[in-house]
Protein backbone atom coordinates (compact mmCIF):
# COMPACT_ATOMS: atom_id res chain seq x y z
CA UNK A 1 0.00 0.00 0.00
CA UNK A 2 1.36 3.40 -0.88
CA UNK A 3 1.07 6.37 1.42
CA UNK A 4 1.36 9.29 -0.99
CA UNK A 5 2.46 12.81 -0.19
CA UNK A 6 -1.10 14.11 0.09
CA UNK A 7 -1.92 11.49 2.73
CA UNK A 8 1.25 12.41 4.65
CA UNK A 9 0.29 16.09 4.56
CA UNK A 10 -3.24 15.37 5.76
CA UNK A 11 -2.03 13.08 8.58
CA UNK A 12 0.65 15.59 9.60
CA UNK A 13 -2.05 18.25 9.87
CA UNK A 14 -4.12 15.96 12.11
CA UNK A 15 -1.07 15.26 14.27
CA UNK A 16 -0.16 18.99 14.41
CA UNK A 17 3.34 18.46 13.07
CA UNK A 18 4.71 20.43 10.12
CA UNK A 19 7.22 19.00 7.63
CA UNK A 20 9.07 20.48 4.67
CA UNK A 21 8.62 19.01 1.16
CA UNK A 22 11.81 16.95 1.27
CA UNK A 23 10.80 15.34 4.56
CA UNK A 24 7.30 14.62 3.24
CA UNK A 25 8.88 12.79 0.34
CA UNK A 26 11.05 10.57 2.56
CA UNK A 27 8.18 9.95 5.00
CA UNK A 28 6.00 8.85 2.12
CA UNK A 29 8.64 6.28 1.23
CA UNK A 30 9.15 5.10 4.85
CA UNK A 31 5.47 4.84 5.65
CA UNK A 32 4.67 3.03 2.40
CA UNK A 33 7.28 0.40 3.34
CA UNK A 34 5.94 0.12 6.86
CA UNK A 35 2.34 -0.24 5.67
CA UNK A 36 3.37 -2.89 3.16
CA UNK A 37 4.81 -4.77 6.10
CA UNK A 38 1.66 -4.24 8.20
CA UNK A 39 -0.53 -5.34 5.27
CA UNK A 40 0.32 -8.95 6.16
CA UNK A 41 -2.53 -8.84 8.69
CA UNK A 42 -5.10 -8.94 5.91
CA UNK A 43 -4.05 -12.59 5.33
CA UNK A 44 -5.82 -13.70 8.52
CA UNK A 45 -9.55 -14.11 8.71
CA UNK A 46 -10.74 -12.42 11.90
CA UNK A 47 -14.49 -12.34 11.18
CA UNK A 48 -15.28 -14.38 14.28
CA UNK A 49 -12.76 -12.73 16.62
CA UNK A 50 -13.64 -9.92 19.03
CA UNK A 51 -11.04 -7.20 19.35
CA UNK A 52 -9.00 -7.36 22.55
CA UNK A 53 -9.98 -4.58 24.93
CA UNK A 54 -7.91 -5.47 28.00
CA UNK A 55 -5.11 -7.92 28.65
CA UNK A 56 -5.90 -8.00 32.37
CA UNK A 57 -8.44 -10.43 33.76
CA UNK A 58 -9.63 -7.85 36.25
CA UNK A 59 -12.24 -5.19 35.47
CA UNK A 60 -11.47 -1.56 36.20
CA UNK A 61 -11.72 -0.71 39.88
CA UNK A 62 -14.08 1.86 41.27
CA UNK A 63 -13.23 3.90 44.32
CA UNK A 64 -15.08 5.94 46.85
CA UNK A 65 -16.02 9.34 45.43
CA UNK A 66 -13.93 11.55 47.66
CA UNK A 67 -11.23 14.14 47.06
CA UNK A 68 -7.72 12.72 47.51
CA UNK A 69 -5.65 15.32 45.72
CA UNK A 70 -5.86 18.85 44.36
CA UNK A 71 -5.15 22.47 45.27
CA UNK A 72 -1.80 22.29 43.48
CA UNK A 73 -2.26 25.05 40.90
CA UNK A 74 1.16 26.56 41.53
CA UNK A 75 2.89 23.19 41.23
CA UNK A 76 1.12 22.53 37.95
CA UNK A 77 2.09 25.95 36.57
CA UNK A 78 5.72 25.51 37.67
CA UNK A 79 6.81 23.75 34.46
CA UNK A 80 4.89 25.85 31.95
CA UNK A 81 7.02 27.57 29.31
CA UNK A 82 4.78 30.65 29.53
CA UNK A 83 2.53 31.59 32.44
CA UNK A 84 1.43 34.33 34.79
CA UNK A 85 0.39 33.90 38.41
CA UNK A 86 -2.78 31.97 37.64
CA UNK A 87 -2.84 30.92 33.99
CA UNK A 88 -0.98 29.28 31.14
CA UNK A 89 -0.29 31.87 28.45
CA UNK A 90 -0.82 30.97 24.78
CA UNK A 91 -0.79 32.98 21.55
CA UNK A 92 -4.00 34.97 21.03
CA UNK A 93 -6.88 32.72 19.95
CA UNK A 94 -9.81 35.15 19.53
CA UNK A 95 -9.40 38.34 17.50
Amino acid sequence: MSIDKEKIKHTAKLARISFDEKKIESLSKDLSNIFNFIEKLSNINTDKVSPLTSILDQTLRTREDKITDGGIRDKILENSPSKNEEFFIVPKVIE
Binding site: I3, K7, I8, T11, A12, L14, A15, R16, I17, S18, F19, L27, D30, L31, N33, I34, F37, I38, E39, K40, L41, S42, I44, T46, V49, S50, P51, L52, T53, S54, I55, L56, D57, Q58, L60, R61, R63, K75, I76, E78, N79, S80, P81, S82, F88, V90, P91, K92, V93
Partner: protein
Protein backbone atom coordinates in the same frame (compact mmCIF):
# COMPACT_ATOMS: atom_id res chain seq x y z
CA UNK B 1 38.74 -3.99 49.82
CA UNK B 2 38.82 -5.06 46.18
CA UNK B 3 36.74 -3.06 43.73
CA UNK B 4 33.22 -3.11 45.10
CA UNK B 5 31.69 -2.17 41.74
CA UNK B 6 32.58 -5.61 40.32
CA UNK B 7 30.19 -7.18 42.76
CA UNK B 8 26.53 -8.04 42.36
CA UNK B 9 23.79 -6.01 44.03
CA UNK B 10 23.08 -8.92 46.40
CA UNK B 11 26.74 -9.04 47.45
CA UNK B 12 26.84 -5.27 48.02
CA UNK B 13 23.67 -5.41 50.13
CA UNK B 14 25.26 -8.21 52.19
CA UNK B 15 28.47 -6.25 52.73
CA UNK B 16 26.53 -3.16 53.81
CA UNK B 17 24.40 -5.22 56.18
CA UNK B 18 27.51 -6.86 57.68
CA UNK B 19 28.96 -3.35 58.10
CA UNK B 20 31.98 -4.36 56.02
CA UNK B 21 31.49 -1.40 53.75
CA UNK B 22 29.80 1.97 54.18
CA UNK B 23 27.17 3.30 51.84
CA UNK B 24 29.34 6.36 51.21
CA UNK B 25 32.26 4.18 50.05
CA UNK B 26 30.00 2.30 47.67
CA UNK B 27 28.56 5.55 46.33
CA UNK B 28 32.00 7.10 45.82
CA UNK B 29 33.19 4.00 43.98
CA UNK B 30 30.32 4.26 41.48
CA UNK B 31 30.72 8.04 41.09
CA UNK B 32 34.38 7.44 40.30
CA UNK B 33 33.44 4.87 37.62
CA UNK B 34 30.80 7.18 36.13
CA UNK B 35 33.35 10.00 35.84
CA UNK B 36 35.69 7.64 33.98
CA UNK B 37 32.87 6.27 31.83
CA UNK B 38 31.81 9.44 29.96
CA UNK B 39 32.65 7.89 26.58
CA UNK B 40 29.77 5.46 26.96
CA UNK B 41 27.29 8.39 27.14
CA UNK B 42 25.01 6.31 29.32
CA UNK B 43 24.07 9.13 31.72
CA UNK B 44 21.89 12.13 30.82
CA UNK B 45 21.83 13.63 34.32
CA UNK B 46 24.14 12.88 37.26
CA UNK B 47 22.80 13.13 40.77
CA UNK B 48 26.05 12.89 42.74
CA UNK B 49 25.31 15.49 45.43
CA UNK B 50 22.00 13.84 46.22
CA UNK B 51 23.61 10.40 46.31
CA UNK B 52 26.45 11.49 48.61
CA UNK B 53 24.09 13.27 51.01
CA UNK B 54 21.78 10.27 51.14
CA UNK B 55 24.66 7.84 51.64
CA UNK B 56 26.06 9.92 54.52
CA UNK B 57 22.60 10.09 56.08
CA UNK B 58 22.32 6.33 55.77
CA UNK B 59 25.71 5.72 57.38
CA UNK B 60 24.84 8.10 60.23
CA UNK B 61 21.50 6.43 60.85
CA UNK B 62 21.43 3.04 59.10
CA UNK B 63 18.36 0.85 58.67
CA UNK B 64 19.50 -2.65 57.72
CA UNK B 65 15.99 -4.08 57.62
CA UNK B 66 15.11 -2.78 54.16
CA UNK B 67 15.77 -4.63 50.88
CA UNK B 68 18.23 -2.12 49.39
CA UNK B 69 19.95 -0.50 52.39
CA UNK B 70 22.19 2.43 51.39
CA UNK B 71 22.40 1.39 47.74
CA UNK B 72 22.93 4.04 45.01
CA UNK B 73 20.92 3.33 41.83
CA UNK B 74 20.80 5.06 38.45
CA UNK B 75 17.48 4.70 36.60
CA UNK B 76 16.23 5.08 33.04
CA UNK B 77 15.36 8.71 32.29
CA UNK B 78 11.73 7.78 31.67
CA UNK B 79 10.92 7.63 35.39
CA UNK B 80 9.84 10.97 36.84
CA UNK B 81 12.07 11.96 39.75
CA UNK B 82 11.07 14.75 42.10
CA UNK B 83 13.38 17.75 41.62
CA UNK B 84 15.65 15.96 39.12
CA UNK B 85 15.07 16.63 35.44
CA UNK B 86 13.42 13.88 33.46
CA UNK B 87 13.93 14.06 29.71
CA UNK B 88 12.68 10.77 28.18
CA UNK B 89 15.66 11.26 25.82
CA UNK B 90 13.79 14.09 24.09
CA UNK B 91 14.42 17.74 23.33
CA UNK B 92 10.74 18.20 24.22
CA UNK B 93 11.52 17.48 27.89
CA UNK B 94 15.12 18.75 27.94
CA UNK B 95 14.36 21.10 30.86
CA UNK B 96 11.44 19.29 32.48
CA UNK B 97 11.86 18.97 36.26
CA UNK B 98 8.96 16.96 37.74
CA UNK B 99 7.68 17.96 41.16
CA UNK B 100 6.53 14.43 41.86
CA UNK B 101 8.11 10.97 41.97
CA UNK B 102 7.11 7.83 40.02
CA UNK B 103 5.65 5.03 42.15
CA UNK B 104 8.30 2.53 41.08
CA UNK B 105 11.22 4.79 42.09
CA UNK B 106 9.37 5.74 45.30
CA UNK B 107 9.23 1.99 46.10
CA UNK B 108 13.00 1.67 45.55
CA UNK B 109 13.75 4.67 47.78
CA UNK B 110 11.39 3.30 50.46
CA UNK B 111 13.55 0.16 50.47
CA UNK B 112 16.66 2.21 51.28
CA UNK B 113 18.09 2.96 47.81
CA UNK B 114 18.73 6.49 46.48
CA UNK B 115 19.19 8.13 43.09
CA UNK B 116 22.66 8.19 41.49
CA UNK B 117 21.59 9.56 38.11
CA UNK B 118 19.28 9.35 35.09
CA UNK B 119 20.18 7.04 32.22
CA UNK B 120 20.05 7.68 28.51
CA UNK B 121 17.36 5.99 26.40
CA UNK B 122 15.77 6.16 22.97
CA UNK B 123 13.48 9.19 22.61
CA UNK B 124 10.22 8.37 24.43
CA UNK B 125 11.51 4.77 24.51
CA UNK B 126 10.99 4.47 20.74
CA UNK B 127 13.95 2.59 19.34
CA UNK B 128 15.97 -0.62 19.52
CA UNK B 129 19.51 0.79 19.48
CA UNK B 130 19.55 3.96 21.60
CA UNK B 131 20.28 5.94 18.41
CA UNK B 132 17.09 8.05 18.60
CA UNK B 133 18.01 9.85 21.85
CA UNK B 134 18.29 13.67 21.65
CA UNK B 135 21.30 13.25 23.97
CA UNK B 136 23.26 11.09 21.53
CA UNK B 137 24.11 7.44 21.00
CA UNK B 138 24.99 5.21 23.90
CA UNK B 139 27.95 2.85 23.44
CA UNK B 140 27.88 -0.83 24.37
CA UNK B 141 30.73 -1.47 26.87
CA UNK B 142 31.11 -4.93 25.35
CA UNK B 143 32.61 -3.45 22.17
CA UNK B 144 33.29 0.07 20.94
CA UNK B 145 31.11 1.14 17.97
CA UNK B 146 28.31 -1.29 18.83
CA UNK B 147 24.88 -0.30 20.10
CA UNK B 148 23.74 -1.35 23.59
CA UNK B 149 20.25 -2.07 22.24
CA UNK B 150 17.23 -0.05 23.14
CA UNK B 151 15.25 1.59 24.32
CA UNK B 152 16.77 1.04 27.79
CA UNK B 153 20.26 1.30 26.24
CA UNK B 154 21.74 3.67 28.83
CA UNK B 155 20.54 1.37 31.60
CA UNK B 156 22.11 -1.71 30.00
CA UNK B 157 25.36 0.10 29.19
CA UNK B 158 25.76 1.62 32.66
CA UNK B 159 25.00 -1.70 34.33
CA UNK B 160 27.42 -3.76 32.24
CA UNK B 161 30.15 -1.12 32.69
CA UNK B 162 29.86 -1.13 36.52
CA UNK B 163 28.44 2.41 36.65
CA UNK B 164 25.44 1.30 38.74
CA UNK B 165 24.95 -1.88 40.80
CA UNK B 166 21.51 -2.50 39.25
CA UNK B 167 18.96 -0.45 37.36
CA UNK B 168 15.43 -0.30 36.05
CA UNK B 169 14.10 0.08 32.53
CA UNK B 170 10.78 -0.01 30.74
CA UNK B 171 9.71 -2.54 28.13
CA UNK B 172 7.00 -1.83 25.53
CA UNK B 173 8.20 -4.25 22.82
CA UNK B 174 11.51 -5.58 24.15
CA UNK B 175 13.19 -2.47 25.56
CA UNK B 176 14.49 -4.26 28.68
CA UNK B 177 15.18 -7.75 27.27
CA UNK B 178 16.92 -6.81 24.00
CA UNK B 179 19.49 -4.44 25.63
CA UNK B 180 20.03 -7.02 28.40
CA UNK B 181 20.79 -9.62 25.73
CA UNK B 182 23.14 -7.22 23.88
CA UNK B 183 25.16 -6.44 27.03
CA UNK B 184 25.30 -9.83 28.78
CA UNK B 185 23.00 -8.79 31.61
CA UNK B 186 19.67 -9.98 33.03
CA UNK B 187 16.45 -8.13 32.15
CA UNK B 188 12.89 -8.91 33.19
CA UNK B 189 9.63 -7.58 31.79
CA UNK B 190 6.99 -8.30 34.44
CA UNK B 191 3.33 -9.19 33.90
CA UNK B 192 1.37 -6.15 32.74
CA UNK B 193 0.10 -4.48 35.92
CA UNK B 194 2.70 -5.87 38.37
CA UNK B 195 4.71 -2.62 38.50
CA UNK B 196 2.89 0.70 38.58
CA UNK B 197 3.03 2.89 35.47
CA UNK B 198 2.31 6.03 37.51
CA UNK B 199 4.96 8.69 36.93
CA UNK B 200 6.56 6.95 33.94
CA UNK B 201 6.59 8.97 30.72
CA UNK B 202 4.00 7.13 28.62
CA UNK B 203 4.72 5.49 25.25
CA UNK B 204 2.01 2.83 24.61
CA UNK B 205 -0.07 2.43 27.75
CA UNK B 206 -1.45 -1.08 27.12
CA UNK B 207 2.08 -2.43 26.54
CA UNK B 208 4.40 -0.38 28.80
CA UNK B 209 5.80 -2.14 31.84
CA UNK B 210 8.75 -1.28 34.11
CA UNK B 211 11.19 -3.96 35.19
CA UNK B 212 14.62 -4.70 36.69
CA UNK B 213 17.93 -4.89 34.81
CA UNK B 214 20.67 -6.56 36.81
CA UNK B 215 23.96 -8.46 36.70
CA UNK B 216 22.54 -11.66 38.21
CA UNK B 217 19.22 -13.46 38.52
CA UNK B 218 19.29 -13.13 42.33
CA UNK B 219 19.67 -9.36 41.92
CA UNK B 220 16.74 -9.41 39.53
CA UNK B 221 14.52 -11.13 42.13
CA UNK B 222 15.56 -8.59 44.75
CA UNK B 223 14.90 -5.57 42.52
CA UNK B 224 11.52 -6.91 41.35
CA UNK B 225 10.51 -7.46 44.95
CA UNK B 226 11.45 -3.87 45.79
CA UNK B 227 9.84 -2.13 42.81
CA UNK B 228 6.60 -4.07 42.30
CA UNK B 229 3.32 -3.75 44.17
CA UNK B 230 -0.25 -2.52 43.94
CA UNK B 231 -0.75 1.19 43.28
CA UNK B 232 -4.22 2.79 43.43
CA UNK B 233 -2.88 5.61 41.20
CA UNK B 234 -2.54 3.21 38.22
CA UNK B 235 -5.95 1.95 37.11
CA UNK B 236 -4.37 -1.16 35.54
CA UNK B 237 -2.28 -2.06 38.59
CA UNK B 238 -2.92 -5.63 39.83
CA UNK B 239 -4.30 -5.68 43.36
CA UNK B 240 -2.37 -8.48 45.05
CA UNK B 241 0.06 -9.07 47.89
CA UNK B 242 3.76 -8.38 47.30
CA UNK B 243 5.81 -11.54 46.61
CA UNK B 244 9.12 -12.46 48.30
CA UNK B 245 10.81 -13.45 45.06
CA UNK B 246 14.35 -13.52 46.45
CA UNK B 247 13.44 -15.65 49.46
CA UNK B 248 11.58 -18.18 47.30
CA UNK B 249 14.32 -18.39 44.67
CA UNK B 250 15.34 -22.02 44.04
CA UNK B 251 17.27 -24.01 41.46
CA UNK B 252 14.87 -26.90 41.81
CA UNK B 253 13.03 -26.98 38.49
CA UNK B 254 12.31 -30.71 38.40
CA UNK B 255 9.19 -31.62 36.50
CA UNK B 256 8.62 -28.16 35.00
CA UNK B 257 7.45 -28.32 31.41
CA UNK B 258 9.25 -26.04 28.96
CA UNK B 259 7.68 -25.27 25.58
CA UNK B 260 9.76 -24.76 22.42
CA UNK B 261 7.81 -22.85 19.74
CA UNK B 262 8.94 -23.77 16.24
CA UNK B 263 7.68 -20.42 14.90
CA UNK B 264 10.65 -18.71 16.60
CA UNK B 265 13.05 -20.46 14.22
CA UNK B 266 13.19 -17.59 11.72
CA UNK B 267 14.91 -17.31 8.35
CA UNK B 268 18.38 -15.86 8.44
CA UNK B 269 18.92 -16.47 12.14
CA UNK B 270 22.64 -17.12 12.75
CA UNK B 271 23.63 -20.72 13.59
CA UNK B 272 25.16 -19.48 16.81
CA UNK B 273 21.74 -18.48 18.08
CA UNK B 274 20.29 -21.82 17.06
CA UNK B 275 23.12 -23.53 18.98
CA UNK B 276 22.55 -21.31 22.00
CA UNK B 277 18.89 -22.30 22.01
CA UNK B 278 19.91 -25.99 21.94
CA UNK B 279 22.31 -25.36 24.80
CA UNK B 280 19.50 -23.79 26.83
CA UNK B 281 17.20 -26.74 26.21
CA UNK B 282 19.96 -29.16 27.25
CA UNK B 283 20.73 -27.27 30.47
CA UNK B 284 17.11 -27.22 31.58
CA UNK B 285 16.62 -30.87 30.64
CA UNK B 286 19.65 -31.91 32.68
CA UNK B 287 18.10 -30.19 35.69
CA UNK B 288 14.94 -32.25 35.35
CA UNK B 289 12.73 -30.05 33.20
CA UNK B 290 10.70 -31.61 30.42
CA UNK B 291 11.08 -30.13 26.93
CA UNK B 292 7.90 -30.07 24.81
CA UNK B 293 7.34 -28.79 21.28
CA UNK B 294 4.52 -26.25 21.13
CA UNK B 295 2.84 -24.06 18.53
CA UNK B 296 2.35 -20.30 18.61
CA UNK B 297 0.79 -20.06 15.14
CA UNK B 298 0.21 -16.28 15.01
CA UNK B 299 3.80 -15.31 15.89
CA UNK B 300 4.52 -13.90 12.41
CA UNK B 301 1.67 -11.41 12.86
CA UNK B 302 2.98 -10.01 16.16
CA UNK B 303 5.27 -7.34 14.69
CA UNK B 304 2.71 -5.94 12.20
CA UNK B 305 0.14 -5.90 15.04
CA UNK B 306 2.60 -4.15 17.32
CA UNK B 307 3.37 -1.52 14.69
CA UNK B 308 -0.30 -0.57 14.64
CA UNK B 309 -1.15 -0.77 18.35
CA UNK B 310 2.00 0.88 19.74
CA UNK B 311 2.06 3.91 17.39
CA UNK B 312 -1.72 4.36 17.81
CA UNK B 313 -1.34 4.60 21.57
CA UNK B 314 1.81 6.71 21.23
CA UNK B 315 0.13 9.24 18.96
CA UNK B 316 -2.65 9.63 21.54
CA UNK B 317 -0.27 9.82 24.50
CA UNK B 318 2.09 12.27 22.82
CA UNK B 319 -0.76 14.64 21.88
CA UNK B 320 -0.18 16.19 25.32
CA UNK B 321 3.09 17.80 24.17
CA UNK B 322 1.62 21.07 22.93
CA UNK B 323 4.07 23.61 24.33
CA UNK B 324 1.53 24.92 26.84
CA UNK B 325 1.57 22.99 30.09
CA UNK B 326 5.18 21.82 30.30
CA UNK B 327 8.16 21.03 28.12
CA UNK B 328 9.57 22.81 25.11
CA UNK B 329 7.72 25.61 23.26
CA UNK B 330 8.82 26.95 19.89
CA UNK B 331 9.27 30.70 19.67
CA UNK B 332 7.99 30.63 16.08
CA UNK B 333 4.38 30.86 14.93
CA UNK B 334 1.88 33.70 14.84
CA UNK B 335 -1.14 31.84 16.18
CA UNK B 336 -1.96 28.91 18.47
CA UNK B 337 -2.07 26.23 15.74
CA UNK B 338 1.27 27.34 14.29
CA UNK B 339 2.75 27.34 17.79
CA UNK B 340 1.58 23.74 18.29
CA UNK B 341 2.94 22.64 14.91
CA UNK B 342 6.31 24.31 15.35
CA UNK B 343 6.67 23.09 18.93
CA UNK B 344 6.03 19.48 17.90
CA UNK B 345 8.17 19.70 14.75
CA UNK B 346 11.15 21.14 16.60
CA UNK B 347 10.68 19.23 19.87
CA UNK B 348 10.29 15.66 18.56
CA UNK B 349 12.96 13.66 16.71
CA UNK B 350 12.48 11.76 13.44
CA UNK B 351 11.53 8.33 14.82
CA UNK B 352 8.99 9.79 17.24
CA UNK B 353 7.41 11.86 14.44
CA UNK B 354 7.33 8.80 12.18
CA UNK B 355 5.47 6.79 14.83
CA UNK B 356 3.06 9.62 15.60
CA UNK B 357 2.21 9.75 11.90
CA UNK B 358 1.68 5.97 11.69
CA UNK B 359 -0.51 6.11 14.78
CA UNK B 360 -2.51 9.10 13.64
CA UNK B 361 -3.04 7.47 10.25
CA UNK B 362 -4.28 4.12 11.61
CA UNK B 363 -6.68 5.93 13.95
CA UNK B 364 -7.96 8.37 11.36
CA UNK B 365 -11.47 8.30 9.94
CA UNK B 366 -11.87 5.59 7.29
CA UNK B 367 -8.82 3.58 8.42
CA UNK B 368 -9.66 2.85 12.05
CA UNK B 369 -11.49 -0.45 11.41
CA UNK B 370 -9.08 -1.68 8.76
CA UNK B 371 -6.02 -1.14 10.92
CA UNK B 372 -6.64 -0.53 14.59
CA UNK B 373 -9.63 -2.86 15.12
CA UNK B 374 -8.01 -5.48 12.90
CA UNK B 375 -4.83 -5.29 14.98
CA UNK B 376 -6.75 -5.65 18.26
CA UNK B 377 -8.44 -8.77 16.84
CA UNK B 378 -5.11 -10.30 15.87
CA UNK B 379 -3.77 -9.32 19.28
CA UNK B 380 -6.54 -11.46 20.77
CA UNK B 381 -5.39 -14.39 18.59
CA UNK B 382 -1.80 -13.92 19.75
CA UNK B 383 -2.96 -13.92 23.37
CA UNK B 384 -5.02 -17.08 22.70
CA UNK B 385 -1.88 -18.77 21.31
CA UNK B 386 -0.12 -18.21 24.64
CA UNK B 387 -3.18 -19.26 26.67
CA UNK B 388 -3.32 -22.53 24.72
CA UNK B 389 0.41 -23.10 25.13
CA UNK B 390 0.30 -22.46 28.87
CA UNK B 391 -2.38 -25.11 29.26
CA UNK B 392 0.42 -27.57 28.46
CA UNK B 393 3.66 -25.93 29.67
CA UNK B 394 4.95 -23.87 32.61
CA UNK B 395 7.28 -21.65 30.57
CA UNK B 396 8.51 -21.11 27.02
CA UNK B 397 12.17 -20.94 25.94
CA UNK B 398 13.24 -18.84 22.92
CA UNK B 399 16.22 -16.74 21.85
CA UNK B 400 15.98 -13.13 23.13
CA UNK B 401 17.01 -11.54 19.84
CA UNK B 402 17.63 -12.71 16.26
CA UNK B 403 21.21 -11.34 16.34
CA UNK B 404 23.93 -10.11 18.68
CA UNK B 405 24.57 -6.36 19.16
CA UNK B 406 24.99 -4.58 15.81
CA UNK B 407 27.12 -1.61 14.86
CA UNK B 408 26.12 1.99 15.36
CA UNK B 409 24.52 3.26 12.14
CA UNK B 410 24.04 -0.23 10.69
CA UNK B 411 20.23 -0.21 10.76
CA UNK B 412 19.55 3.47 11.38
CA UNK B 413 18.12 4.30 7.97
CA UNK B 414 16.04 1.18 7.56
CA UNK B 415 13.11 1.26 10.01
CA UNK B 416 11.84 -2.23 9.11
CA UNK B 417 15.17 -3.95 9.68
CA UNK B 418 15.38 -2.11 13.02
CA UNK B 419 11.85 -3.20 13.95
CA UNK B 420 12.66 -6.85 13.09
CA UNK B 421 15.11 -6.86 15.97
CA UNK B 422 12.15 -7.09 18.35
CA UNK B 423 10.61 -10.12 16.64
CA UNK B 424 11.03 -12.44 19.68
CA UNK B 425 10.17 -9.89 22.36
CA UNK B 426 7.08 -8.11 20.98
CA UNK B 427 4.56 -11.02 21.29
CA UNK B 428 5.04 -11.04 25.07
CA UNK B 429 4.00 -7.39 25.41
CA UNK B 430 0.95 -7.93 23.21
CA UNK B 431 -0.13 -10.78 25.53
CA UNK B 432 0.73 -8.90 28.75
CA UNK B 433 2.77 -11.80 30.12
CA UNK B 434 6.20 -11.83 31.83
CA UNK B 435 9.54 -12.75 30.23
CA UNK B 436 13.18 -12.65 31.25
CA UNK B 437 16.37 -12.50 29.18
CA UNK B 438 19.35 -14.35 30.64
CA UNK B 439 22.89 -14.25 29.19
CA UNK B 440 23.93 -17.76 28.18
CA UNK B 441 26.85 -17.49 25.74
CA UNK B 442 28.92 -15.46 23.27
CA UNK B 443 29.09 -15.40 19.47
CA UNK B 444 32.32 -15.78 17.49
CA UNK B 445 33.06 -12.07 17.95
CA UNK B 446 32.74 -12.39 21.73
CA UNK B 447 29.43 -10.53 21.77
CA UNK B 448 27.01 -11.81 24.43
CA UNK B 449 23.82 -13.69 23.50
CA UNK B 450 20.77 -14.22 25.65
CA UNK B 451 17.88 -16.64 25.91
CA UNK B 452 14.36 -15.60 26.78
CA UNK B 453 12.04 -17.44 29.15
CA UNK B 454 8.36 -16.53 28.79
CA UNK B 455 5.95 -17.21 31.67
CA UNK B 456 2.29 -17.39 32.57
CA UNK B 457 0.61 -14.24 33.90
CA UNK B 458 2.17 -13.59 37.34
CA UNK B 459 4.58 -16.49 36.74
CA UNK B 460 7.63 -14.39 37.66
CA UNK B 461 8.81 -16.80 40.37
CA UNK B 462 8.91 -19.74 37.95
CA UNK B 463 10.81 -17.61 35.42
CA UNK B 464 13.34 -16.48 38.03
CA UNK B 465 13.89 -20.06 39.20
CA UNK B 466 14.45 -21.31 35.64
CA UNK B 467 16.70 -18.33 34.92
CA UNK B 468 18.74 -19.01 38.07
CA UNK B 469 19.23 -22.57 36.93
CA UNK B 470 20.28 -21.50 33.46
CA UNK B 471 22.63 -18.87 34.87
CA UNK B 472 24.46 -21.31 37.14
CA UNK B 473 24.65 -24.11 34.56
CA UNK B 474 25.68 -21.99 31.57
CA UNK B 475 28.57 -20.47 33.49
CA UNK B 476 28.35 -17.25 31.47
CA UNK B 477 31.15 -14.78 32.21
CA UNK B 478 31.34 -11.19 31.01
CA UNK B 479 34.31 -10.55 28.73
CA UNK B 480 34.35 -6.78 29.09
CA UNK B 481 37.71 -5.01 29.00
CA UNK B 482 37.24 -1.46 30.27
CA UNK B 483 38.52 0.14 27.05
CA UNK B 484 36.79 3.44 27.85
CA UNK B 485 38.99 4.01 30.92
CA UNK B 486 42.14 4.16 28.75
CA UNK B 487 43.01 7.37 26.97
Amino acid sequence: MSDITNKSLTQIVDLIKKKEVKSEEVTNAYINNIKKGKKLNSFITESFDNALTKSKNFDANPNYESLLPGVPLAVKDLFCTNGVRTTAGSKMLENFVPNYESTVTTNLWTEGAFLLGKLNCDEYAMGSSNETSFFGNVINPVKENTVPGGSSGGSASALAADLTPATIGTDTGGSIRQPASFTGTVGLKPTYGLCSRWGIVAFASSLDQAGPMTKTVSDCALMLEAMSGFDPKDSTSIDKKKENYSKKLTKNIKGLKIGIPKEYRVDGMPNEIEELWEKGKKLLKEEGAEIIDILLPHTEYALPTYYIVAPAEASSNLARYDGVKYGFRSSKGSNLIEMYENTRSEGFGDEVKRRILIGTYVLSSGYYDAYYIKAQKVRQLIKNDFDNAFAKVDAILTPSTPSAAFEIGEKKNDPISMYLNDIFTVPVNLAGIPAISVPVGHDKNNLPLGLQLIGKPLGEQTLLNLALCMESKSNFKQKIIKWWEKN
